[in-house]
């Protein structure tokens, strides 16, 4: 059905096009590298060194002990001490501090006499994620201080009560024991990189032929639609798989992201997802016949959902129910679940088969769509 010779000829011309245009080729390889290096070195969701300012009205040994707990914590970095609300507000307004602590003047007296003291904590809510984490860490520091006081106070009875008969929570984090965000991000980047490279690059291929008028020449040859499509996809498939290999090896050797599952399965699943992404770009290119349009739609329909609706950074189960339904049509959702399963949980198809099947269905639908839409006819 497919004439291999004709398909190979198209693949060769597209290869030559890609290789001759060294700049596009360089970018197709450089974009994933830059992404991975950025994510590996610079970007982390783990909150550290939250800039903090303090107004210590008490200035006693007790209050300094509390401050030193904040100073010693990796989560906070004390940027300065101020007097009054006005300087605190200025620092937070200007974004120089995200947390401000106000320790009341009667702090030491109240601690000594066993009365609860209230520490005012002001967090910059304009970045809700950071502020919520920072708030929970301040609560944590408060708990540590309380425990210290209880242990240190010469009231063995009271400190005894604190542990005696109490429920102790023993938390254990599976799959990612030290909760490194890199471990969760790297498997996701592979999906992002492939969506970018595959859907964006192929989105211009057929449209380019229409725009520059070379499509007429192709139409006059005996080539069939599906041969043209497969021929054009092959070079980008090769680039995509090279990108996956780069991502996996950088993750392995540079960032030491543990790969617990089967690497062969990982590459097979990547190939499946890549095929779907390539044919998405192809279908857009064939349907829209305009490079600008096809590329914009590829970004909006391919890249942004992959970035935001796939569970890459924003957990799907935290989204409103209606939107959760929408994520079912984002193929990256299944692929990222598969990647995390293979990378972090070390599980295989016995659990991931449904995700793999859906990726397969997605790829098939787009291959059929691309073939149906392409009409080698002049208008």
């Amino acid at each position: 059905m497919i004439n291999m010779r004709r398909t190979a000829a198209v693949a060769r011309t597209e290869f030559i096009h890609v290789l001759r245009d060294w700049r596009s080729l360089f970018l197709a390889i450089a974009i994933p590298m830059v992404l991975i290096l950025l994510f590996g070195y610079a970007l982390t969701l783990d909150l550290r060194n939250v800039p903090t300012v303090i107004w210590d009205q008490s200035r006693t040994g007790e209050s300094r002990q509390l401050v030193s707990l904040f100073d010693g914590s990796p989560y906070f970095s004390i940027k300065g001490f101020h007097e009054g609300y006005a300087p605190l507000q200025r620092e937070i307004d200007a974004g120089k501090a995200m947390v401000a602590l106000v320790i009341p003047g009667d702090f030491a007296e109240k601690i000594r006499s066993g009365v609860t003291v209230t520490i005012q904590v002001i967090v910059d809510g304009s970045d809700a994620t950071t502020s919520r984490l920072a708030a929970s860490y301040t609560r944590g520091v408060g708990l540590i201080y309380n425990r210290k006081i209880a242990v240190a106070s010469l009231r063995p009875a009271a400190s005894g009560h604190l542990t005696e008969g109490a429920v102790k929570l023993v938390p254990r984090v599976w799959y990612n024991a030290d909760m490194r965000s890199q471990n969760m991000i790297l498997p996701g980047i592979v999906a992002i990189v492939m969506m970018v490279i595959a859907a964006m690059l192929t989105s211009v291929t057929v449209a380019r032929e229409w725009e520059t008028g070379t499509m007429e020449q192709l139409i006059s040859t005996p080539i069939r639609g599906h041969e043209l499509i497969f021929g054009k996809v092959i070079p980008y498939f090769v680039i995509g798989m090279i990108d996956v290999a780069i991502a996996v090896s950088l993750g392995e050797w540079l960032f030491h992201v543990p790969l617990r599952g089967n690497p062969a399965l990982l590459f097979a699943m990547a190939a499946l997802f890549l095929t779907g992404a390539l044919f998405l770009g192809m279908t857009l290119s064939i349907t829209l016949k305009s490079q600008v349009l096809a590329n914009q739609i590829a970004i909006v329909a391919g890249f942004l959902p992959t970035l935001i609706l796939s569970g890459f950074v924003f957990a799907i189960e935290n989204m409103p129910p209606l939107l959760q339904c929408l994520t079912y049509i984002v193929p990256a959702r299944y692929f990222i679940a598969i990647m995390r399963g293979i990378y972090m949980k070390g599980i295989g198809l016995e659990i991931l088969w449904l995700n793999a099947l859906l990726l397969f269905v997605y790829a098939v639908i787009l291959i059929l769509a691309a073939n149906r839409r392409l009409k080698l006819r002049l208008e």
């Binding site: 910059d124 304009s126 919520r132 929570l169 938390p171 380019r208 914009q296």
Partner: protein, 368 residues
Amino acid sequence: MLTRLKRMLVKEFLQMMRDPRMRMVVFGLPVIQMLVMAFALTTDVNRVKIAVLDRDRTPASRELLSSFTGGNYFQIVHRVQSMDEMTRLLDQGTVRAGIQIPSGFAGDIRAGRPAQVQLIADGTDSNTTAIILGYADGIVADFNGRLQGHRTGAVPVEMAIRAWFNLNQESRLYYVPALIGLMLLIFSLMLTSIGIVREKEIGTIEQVMVTPIRKMEFILGKTIPYVITGYITMTLMFILAILVFDVRIHGSILLLYGLTGIYLCGNLGLALLVSASASTQQQALLTAFFIIMPCVLLSGFMFPIHNMPKVVQYVTWVNPMRWYLEILRGVVIKGVGIKVLWPAAAAQLTLAVGFLFLASKRFRKTLS
């Protein structure tokens, strides 16, 4: 000069708006994106799905579990009989966490021994996990408090936390304006650079070159339409933000529009640089993407800047989106004025002028 520029503008607008699909891309897509993305961008964690393995089955263990489901924090979706079953649910991702209460739990409490409860959290999403652990700590501390009741005295220190600018710490309030910054960057950079390169690729740029139009007029004619559409897009998105997402602009709208203009001009400068160096649309879009990607990631949009290594923090200084987000956050959420925002505004102006200057130099060379 003005008539030539006017002709050019008319031509550009006609070209852009002639295609109904293009009108959709310019005005429809940002609005749709905003509606979908703004709901998706949430880091609020609630109703975490958990599985429970209660080996004790006593009133005490049930009371602990009911305090887990009490707030809006956790929901028990599975009660399992064995650890294997728990492992399977976690592997499948059906639940985010599991709680195991050992037999003898109630006995330990009655006997005054520390009773252990195991919490197994799925660490694949590290941020959610950190929040889940925080919730669980709080719930257990609460439970202990009730258990010990009056026996212990008052807690020494209590943290009274108040989130300024955003009392309920809703992530939406931050992400909605940030999305506007993202969309403006993607659209102004991509559409403009590809628009110019398109003329080069299909050869119509020669036709424009033989007309008496000057280079500066050509550049202005190519960019002004995108400044205008950028403003329209931004206005549409803000209207949506106000009507649908209940975002209120606390600061001066005039300041917001002024600083947005600088941002748009800077992006267009970048777009001109891209188009001056690219000869095919494929090259242009890859180059544009090569710029957009780090700009988005290093802007503080999803990843806080103060978490980055020092060197990278300095790199973010040349990122226009970083400054624009600071301005958006300042004007929209905090309601501060130019007195506080002048460093960001100055940085943005410097960048815009720099990009436009470089672009005009590069452009002259390529066209002659």
